[in-house]
Symmetry: C2
Subunit: 152 residues, 2 copies
DNA sequence: TATTGTTATACTCTATAACTATA
DNA sequence: TATAGTTATAGAGTATAACAATA
């Protein structure tokens, strides 16, 4: 993942294509994520015996959601969700419910057990990695504010 | 992925567990990655007909590497690499070579075609997302510097 | 004996197409 | 006719265990 651009900005600054700074920031962002944060996340999910789509599905179930909405959030076909929800359901973490308005729709909801697991997962997910904890308070604040602006 | 902590810092500041800023930064970092950057990456990989492990494997092949090293970088079992490399090899993107020092070891190397695809992939991966391009130059610079410090 | 990579097996994810029950 | 979810099928990722070749 060594995609750091070493290109320098042009002599006449402020032009339309002067994206050298953004390229450097993006390269470092990717390196930080893939080399440090991603392995940590995978380990956490494994600890809860969840693979990525299962983890993502639980993460979406703040409230009951239709199968189709889960599919679009997971960027996969409707048919995949059937199996994913089947397996979470076999573990007693989620259940299917009828939808009041449309009898074709099934809502997926957390069970009590699923809610417990999801809470513990949220608690653990919210703990910042050492790389962020070791930054100065000023850096932490600036990072928070900049990412907030990036999110619009 | 709504894991933003709303906890405020304690009255007597500077204590050991005062990590509220880091928690906020981390929550926003995760939201930015999962809701904006990850879908973009998946789309790019799909454009090249690569799934995540294949994309990761090509990304590691700056130079020829033993199967076992690929396995440890991908955090999967040795046996999985056999199939992943088989399929990349069937597409003519990589090849197995003997290792000079140890006849048990096989080195995986990019073919010419693999090198071309990998270069194009790197070029596309290096293009910053709009969320970063639209930040002010000051924010881009600060982000680059802070992430650089986080990486140590 | 230990290690590298493969094979065999089983389970899960993923996409496509055909099907059902609703709308 | 169109839509939501399922089933059937096939290809790919993943883990475990057993294995061959080599160290």
């Amino acid at each position: 993942m060594n995609v750091v651009s070493s290109k320098k900005s042009p002599k006449r600054g402020g032009t339309k294509r002067d994206d050298a700074l953004a390229r450097e920031a993006w390269a470092l962002f990717q390196e930080l994520f893939f080399s440090r944060f991603r392995p940590r996340m995978l380990a956490l999910w494994r600890e809860f015996d969840l693979n990525p789509p299962q983890q993502m599905t639980l993460g979406l179930l703040d409230e009951p959601r239709p199968m189709g909405e889960l599919a679009s959030q997971l960027q996969c076909d409707n048919s995949n969700i059937t199996g994913i929800v089947d397996r979470l359901s076999d573990r007693g973490l989620v259940e299917r419910r009828p939808s009041p308005g449309d009898r074709r729709v099934k809502l997926v909801a957390l069970t009590d057990e699923g809610r417990e697991l999801r809470s513990e997962l949220d608690r653990r997910r919210a703990i910042p990695p050492d790389e962020l904890l070791e930054l100065s308070a000023a850096d932490q604040r600036a990072l928070r504010d900049i990412i907030g602006r990036a999110l619009g």
